[in-house]
Subunit: 168 residues, 2 copies
DNA sequence: TGAAAGTACTTTAAGCCTAAACTACTTTTC
DNA sequence: GAAAAGTAGTTTAGGCTTAAAGTACTTTCA
């Protein structure tokens, strides 16, 4: 039943909400978005400065690194949550840098398997190590239990979002 | 004290970590990123489908809606966490749609004030209402207390990230 | 007061990203 | 087994985004 401050959150807001009002949900979304953007912009900046690489390229390499036998473009686009056309372009650019290779699928001639080259694996290993430290540095103020709670609740939110989207 | 499922988190990971290993932090970041992308992609899709508008344009209008007297392009780019050049382009497109207006700053001739037109205010009001419901629909599975905890912890994370970036 | 430094914004070049239309191939169905 | 439906990937057109360089104006300070 408290009034809202300029920037602070208010756990009791829902109680006083008018029907159809979802300010608290909106605030959570804006906070999630802002936090994400803050991190993403900084990671982008550092990847460029330190390794002259873009975040989408780093992300694509990270996906491939987990699958030594490679994966199809379609699987890549699903995992990266982007369109096929987007992956086509990224793959072209990474092929030109010789950090990935592409070969025909054995049985399905529409399909192609891409995987990291040796050069790609080496390059990615260096980047991944620093990247991990950057993230740890940014997350340093959270305690272990806050960490665990946040990870758990985000998992729950993710499930809720997936279901909310599926239903319409 | 829970054991890890195939996809679930593991609160005890840190204890067993090798020095210099930050898998738990990385997992939190990936989960934050995935959740954000999931929501953002869906909001983008619905804004396009329902109102034929892009997320950046919606976002810019949302910023202006909170400031009836308008704001400068620089203030917009700060709040939206994008570059000045980006805002220049967005403003051009929104001017062409006549949902915002731009006028010279009274005392500083380098500066311009943009604000929503009447048409823009009307359009935004309609969109904002549905947008709020979309978010609420996606977040529906969280309890009130989970909601409050998540909002609080994200606030803390945001502060940690800001500080982590500032220190370098 | 006038040169130097700084600020607000724009322009440019290049990469990212999407939806929609397309090509080539595979699977289903009758 | 051939037409229809479906799938993997590419192309295209257009918008978003950035870093870096440029223009026009304002502030600082010697």
């Amino acid at each position: 039943m408290e009034l809202e401050q300029a920037t602070a959150l208010d756990a009791e807001t829902k109680i006083a909400e008018a029907p159809g009002d979802h300010k608290a949900e909106l605030r959570l979304w804006l906070r999630l978005l802002a936090t994400n953007t803050l991190i993403e912009n900084e990671i982008r900046r550092r990847l460029r400065e330190r390794f002259d690489v873009t975040l989408p390229r780093f992300d694509l390499m990270a996906q491939l690194e987990r699958k030594p036998h490679g994966m199809t473009l379609g699987e890549l686009s699903q995992r990266m949550m982007v369109t096929n056309g987007n992956v086509t372009g990224l793959v072209d650019r990474l092929l030109a840098e010789e950090v990935i290779s592409r070969k025909q699928h054995k049985s399905d001639r529409r399909s192609h398997i891409v995987s990291l080259t040796e050069k790609g694996r080496r390059q990615f290993a260096k980047m991944a190590k620093e990247h991990e430290n950057w993230i740890a540095g940014m997350f340093g103020e959270l305690s272990q239990s806050e960490f665990a709670t946040l990870t758990k609740l985000l998992g729950k939110l993710k499930t809720s979002v997936r279901n909310g989207i599926a239903q319409n």
